[in-house]
Symmetry: C2
Subunit: 340 residues, 2 copies
């Protein structure tokens, strides 16, 4: 199959009877070209089925109109929502998303980042603050602007858009404390390589400490995020350190798993046990009696990261830190401690 070569801009120019330069301008700077020549060029484009050659354009302009994103498992619903919103935001500005995902693995993240930089990403979106030092160094050296999402740099040195996981977690814990709970268990996300999970756990400890309480290690279990692991984690806690009246889930799937397991064991929620989540996925509001959780505006985070990057590429300055609200959403899984 000979597969005749795609038409180049020169072919368009010839067909339109103009010079290469004019054809180029007609496409990229339309109003620097006379009305009729412009339309001649456009006709030629349509006729030949011309598609610009991005690599050539990128080589000449040093811009790819591409933004790279390196995300942990995109199949986590919150990242999926952010990815979609980001892609949409970029598309609206003529940019395209280069996506790489990894399984909470800093080395894979570094490799992916390098791959995206090589592909010429004009900007990058990363998640969280846990990275190989080389990762950010690479971006700095290459002069690629980037945004950290979800988390916020405590030093306010790097551009971030996210929430304070710690203070949201403190609010959750205070809510339980206010309801009279003192014996609290935590099914945390895997904190290794995940600063958000760490901060959430730290927030629980902070809130307890503020009231002179502490969180015994036996009351904490770490599990990768999933409903199934929520069930398992809850079962383990029940065996290992029973007597708690509330469970704090590291995210909604974990909390929902705990809730389902409690239900399966005939434990009344919130009568005998309160449960909280984190993220506010759709199901949190739909599953009766409704999961008390923290609303993390994941889609907005994705969209905002895109907006900020586009603004910076356009030479506009944006505040280094963009903190989003993360309100506590009180629903039916939390209630006063039994016997109060």
């Amino acid at each position: 199959m000979p597969a005749k070569p795609s038409p180049r801009l020169a072919d368009v120019a010839r067909a339109a009877g103009v010079s290469l330069a004019t054809a180029s301008r007609a496409l990229s700077e339309p109003d620097m070209v006379r009305e009729d020549t412009r339309s001649r060029v456009q006709e030629a484009v349509a006729m030949l089925g011309y598609v610009p050659h991005g690599a050539a354009r990128a080589l000449a302009t040093r811009r790819t109109r591409t933004i790279g994103a390196v995300f942990p498992p995109v199949d986590n619903p919150i990242f999926a929502g952010a990815t979609h919103a980001l892609a949409q935001e970029l598309a609206g500005a003529g940019y395209t998303l280069l996506l790489a995902s990894h399984d909470y693995d800093a080395d894979a993240e570094l490799a992916a980042t390098r791959a995206l930089v090589e592909r010429g990403a004009d900007g990058m979106v990363l998640v969280g603050l846990d990275h190989r030092p080389e990762t950010l160094a690479l971006l700095e050296r290459a002069g690629v602007p980037y945004e950290i999402t979800w988390a916020l740099d405590p030093g306010a040195m790097i551009h971030c858009v996210g929430i304070s996981h710690r203070s949201a977690s403190i609010r959750v814990t205070q809510h339980l404390l206010d309801l009279g709970h003192r014996e609290i268990a935590v099914i945390a996300g895997d904190t290794r390589g995940n600063d958000r999970a760490r901060e959430r756990l730290a927030g629980v400890k902070d809130a307890l400490a503020a009231r002179g309480l502490r969180l015994p290690a036996r009351r904490v279990i770490e599990m990768p995020f999933s409903v199934a692991n929520g069930r398992k984690g809850f079962a383990t806690l029940l065996k290992r350190a029973p007597g708690f009246t509330a469970v704090i889930g590291g995210n909604d799937p974990l909390a929902i798993g705990a809730f389902l397991e409690a239900q399966a064991r005939g434990i009344d929620v919130p009568g005998r046990l309160s449960i909280t989540g984190f993220d506010d996925i759709e199901l949190a509001g739909e599953l009766p009696p409704g999961l008390t959780t923290v609303r993390v505006p994941s889609a907005e985070i994705g969209r905002e990261a895109g907006k900020r990057l586009l603004a910076r590429l356009a030479g506009k300055a944006v505040p280094v830190i963009r903190e989003m609200a993360a309100p506590l959403i009180v629903r039916g899984t939390t209630g006063p401690v039994a016997g109060k």
Copy 2:
């Protein structure tokens, strides 16, 4: 900020004391170069922090090592899983994913496809068979190999990896018929621009017709995929055309919504009402009593699409149609019709 220009391969060559050509070979065809010169080049690379310029490489090789995917909302968990699997598969082969998503909008899909082709995608992944005719024509003209996912081309003319939604849907319906159900309602996905949703609905009708039954229009409602819409759809059906003993959901979220609404109304499932879904998302197995559904191997579809594309780019032939199994998973939401 002057931002000194990134080092080019010529800088590396100079630092290593070799020619540009040799430096190039040392990096891309290591064993065409003597051991010691190769290591000299690598040192220079490390020293200068050299990162290859993808656009220049792409211009010269006419390959970007990039695969484009244009998906409907990536925040649907099944597409999210497929995206992740696809990205992983590609990364393993040194390829990167260019992702665009749209909201079941064929025009947006066409625009996205064009954007990815311009960016030089070496191959493309699309979803389903509903497209603007220009979309596939564009890919053909540009000579970009592509794979259709989820659905299968009835004509077996274009490369596909997916399942037969219609026959899976027939199996679901037969399962209900075998349980004695005759009054069946359907909460279908939005069939406009979504051939999978259409095929699933058609499958229900086929199965009924095979037993001399038909599906009254009042017993069918179409809703965009979501738990909330499952609830709404169920409520509407109940009001509009009560008397059914089974509900077929267009996907799992819709079915779960119907299930939750039924529970909220005190309708015993599966005692008085059977419910089925489609996809087998994680929650389908976790939510008691377990949702009867069809397992769609979404991650495998994504991975397989990647594999096939990589194989084709490597010049290997692959079967045009790759049909995956989509077994019926019988769980607790389906049972014999009441009073039998």
